[in-house]
């Protein structure tokens, strides 16, 4: 039975084995390899995507559980013309080195800033505590997220 949902604004219909995680469905069936798979058991956060507005780990979700939802992957948070403010901030602060963790950092930060554009450094650290980075030491990532807040604030 096909599973129907939306990915980055486009409807998709996929037929996969029931055991296929949403992460593997995105990467292998929909060829959206921006979503990274690090640990496959919920500890690294590299596979984070946004489902109906909530950041979730796509390795801990079955494809079938995405039925009827709207999924945003890291590909959906970029455009071909220019860097988004969040991307530009990551670049400015050197918030990535090898880049493996970056898709999970970007999706998580986007979900956080969309909901809480006024969050402080402590809240950013708290939220990013579920995303492992083996390169940067995190400080530059926290700074990049804090610096991107202004782009998410609604004009008064």
């Amino acid at each position: 039975m096909p599973t129907n949902f939306e990915v980055n604004g486009k409807p998709v219909s996929v037929t996969v084995e029931a055991r296929t995680t949403l992460a593997d469905c995105l990467r292998h069936h929909l060829r959206l390899t921006g979503t990274h798979v690090g640990c496959e058991h919920g500890v690294c956060g590299a596979c984070t995507v946004i489902v109906d507005g909530y950041a979730v780990r796509s390795c801990l979700m079955l494809t079938a559980q995405a039925e009827g939802t709207k999924v945003t992957t890291v590909e959906g948070l970029s455009n071909d013309e220019a860097l988004t403010p969040l991307q530009a901030s990551f670049r400015k602060h050197h918030a990535l080195q090898c880049g493996f963790c970056t898709p999970g950092m970007i999706t998580t930060a986007h979900a956080l800033l969309s909901e809480e554009p006024d969050c402080d450094a402590d809240r950013v650290r708290d939220v990013l505590s579920g995303n492992l980075c083996r390169c940067t030491g995190y400080i530059s990532i926290v700074e990049a997220v804090l610096d991107a807040r202004s782009a998410y604030k609604k004009p008064a």
């Binding site: 055991r19 058991h41 801990l60 979700m61 559980q65 998580t108 708290d126």
Partner: protein, 285 residues
Amino acid sequence: MKLPPLEYACPASLSEAVALLAAGGGDARAIAGGQSLMPMLAFRVVAPTLLVDLRKPPELKEIRISADGVRLGAMVRWRDIEDDARLAAAHPLLKAAVEHVAHYQIRNRGTVGGSIAHADPAAEMPGICVTCDAEIAVIGSAGSRVIRADDFFVGALTTALEHDEIITEIRLPAWPANRRWGFREFSRRRGDFAMAAAALFYDQDAGGSAVNAHVGVIGLGDRSRRLPEVEAALNSQVIDEALIERAAEITSATVDAQEDIHASAAYRRSLAGTMVERALRSAAA
């Protein structure tokens, strides 16, 4: 690792879900948020042939607050508790404990029912259920029943649930407005499971003495437990600094602690005492 081969069903009602679990024998399993079950599947610790998704039955998603206390539907997520402003007054101990559960993304899917069914000895929610004398409402092919938290948790990852039973609701008794409470947890990183935690509360009589003391510990031994010796030491006493120190000593002396890769038993016993001490100090402040 990839998950073992399995089938998936997403029934619209609780009765269908129970029927699917009953028909599957021990080989069918409920899936709620999947935040414990998916890792268990990936590690192949469990290999059910059918997963029964509980996300559709609407009656499992509600948080109900009344004079009788707080009722959490089994599919209430950590995130829902965090977002519910009423709970700060209706059950501050629950709210404080849930702040320590897992990370942002996991909190967006993990549920209270899944947590108590999973019964990790270091998980916060089972500890709150035991400390607060919660009742667990379940439904199975033999009908509905209500299980006291103390009888529900049998040991590590083991509960009194039958294979065809689904948790529907967690019932926490009413919380008096001026109850004193404290929650303290120690873990190496934010969001990790507790190395040791203490959840406690007491009421005060007209003379300011503690009555009805409930002291629970999390992350020690094979399940969360209350500490009757510590509760006895607190009841009918005015809680002062000397008594707080005494309570910490009794905790370290009586608590059941295990050694594992994270800590020695002696360290855990000492840590448990410190958590009770700090939780009591914040309760008394």
